[in-house]
Symmetry: C2
Subunit: 220 residues, 2 copies
């Protein structure tokens, strides 16, 4: 068995939270979740610790664990940090990136373009993720790579929704090309800049969506 059972349950509960079955502030019941997944409280409590560490849930001693969706401000802060982390990766990668990796980046970009042509957000999202992960790896600093991956994963649900913004995918593609060009040129400063902006825009778009959402909810 290559995947641990508790990891599977952790993923499943994560899904439940993100899909909205549990909303913000809800208490997660050890016993009910145990029954649901056919296990006892012990492994569920293990899973809770994992979720606590990943920030999806908060643990209050002798009280229980509660769903803790990050506030819009926290999400924006995370995007800001993500932009900086990716910028660093780009700056480092510009010095060390290999020809093979450049090819891989261009390949990922082609896949992104194809996804746009086929209007497949899912495919675009996947290849876009790959594109960025290549850059993390090419930073040459595996600790930095791990940190970037961690934050990328945590921001995944929020990055996803802002693909719906009209024309975002096409604009994103153009930015990808600038990033690759900077890396090809070995222009560290430019790689840093283009990557930072590219990611920072996601935070901006997210903010924009929030404002729109706010308008609609207060319209009634």
């Amino acid at each position: 068995m290559t995947i641990k059972k508790t990891d599977f349950i952790a993923e499943a509960i994560e899904e439940l939270i993100l899909k909205g079955e549990f909303s913000n502030g809800d208490r997660l019941d050890e016993i009910k979740l145990g029954e649901r997944f056919g296990v006892s409280r012990t492994p569920i409590r293990e899973v809770f610790q994992k979720l606590t560490m990943s920030g999806l849930v908060e643990h209050f001693p002798k009280r229980g664990v509660f769903v803790r969706q990050p506030s819009p401000i926290q999400i924006l802060e995370m995007f800001e940090v993500m932009a900086e982390l990716e910028a660093i990766c780009g700056r480092f990668a510009a010095h060390t990136i290999s020809d093979e990796s450049i090819d891989m980046l261009e390949n990922a970009n082609n896949c992104c373009q194809q996804a746009i042509d086929e209007k497949s957000e899912t495919d675009y999202y996947r290849h876009n993720t790959t594109f960025h992960q290549i850059i993390y790896k090419e930073s040459g600093n595996s600790f930095l790579e791990q940190e970037a991956l961690r934050l990328q994963k945590r921001l995944a649900p929020f990055r996803r929704i802002q693909l719906h913004v009209r024309g975002r995918m096409k604009q994103s593609m153009r930015e990808h090309k600038l990033i690759v060009q900077a890396l090809v040129d070995g222009d560290a400063a430019n790689a840093e800049l283009t990557l930072r902006d590219h990611v920072a825009i996601q935070g901006k778009k997210f903010q924009y969506l929030l404002v729109e959402l706010e308008k609609n909810s207060t319209k009634t």
Copy 2:
């Protein structure tokens, strides 16, 4: 009770590892540690998960948990990322820092100077830590602050040892003054630069110590 028992045990085991009672690759015995702290396996296993998340220990399914001291390369990588994180904090802080916080930084610096005069490495270390934490906070991005604190904590044992390098404390003080000046000036680019260098030097010094250590160990 403001502090949880498992947190206490986690800290204690962390200490044991750092003090050298357990060395790299050692397996941590759930039962023995339970007896040692007068608890059963359950809370010890909880603590293991915490330690796994903090990276001090590695968990192999159905095998157990093993002490995993980071390799010199990993430590250098972490210092490199720390330097970048602090540089970002400095850049952000330069725009937003308050007069009170400037005062606090200068106060921390005075305490550092006093510690040097009294040749107290412990005091220097403590006030130095405070100095940096003020800058994390003044970044105005609390997520960034948390991430910086996390990595600062993880690097603590390695930062400590390189204070022994002759003259390091005095040089460090001079750098602190440059950092404060950049922040007073609101010079973001300079704050970024001075902070990055200031932290990066710690990695360099650590590397230097490693080489020295290597020489001595192969001399026999």
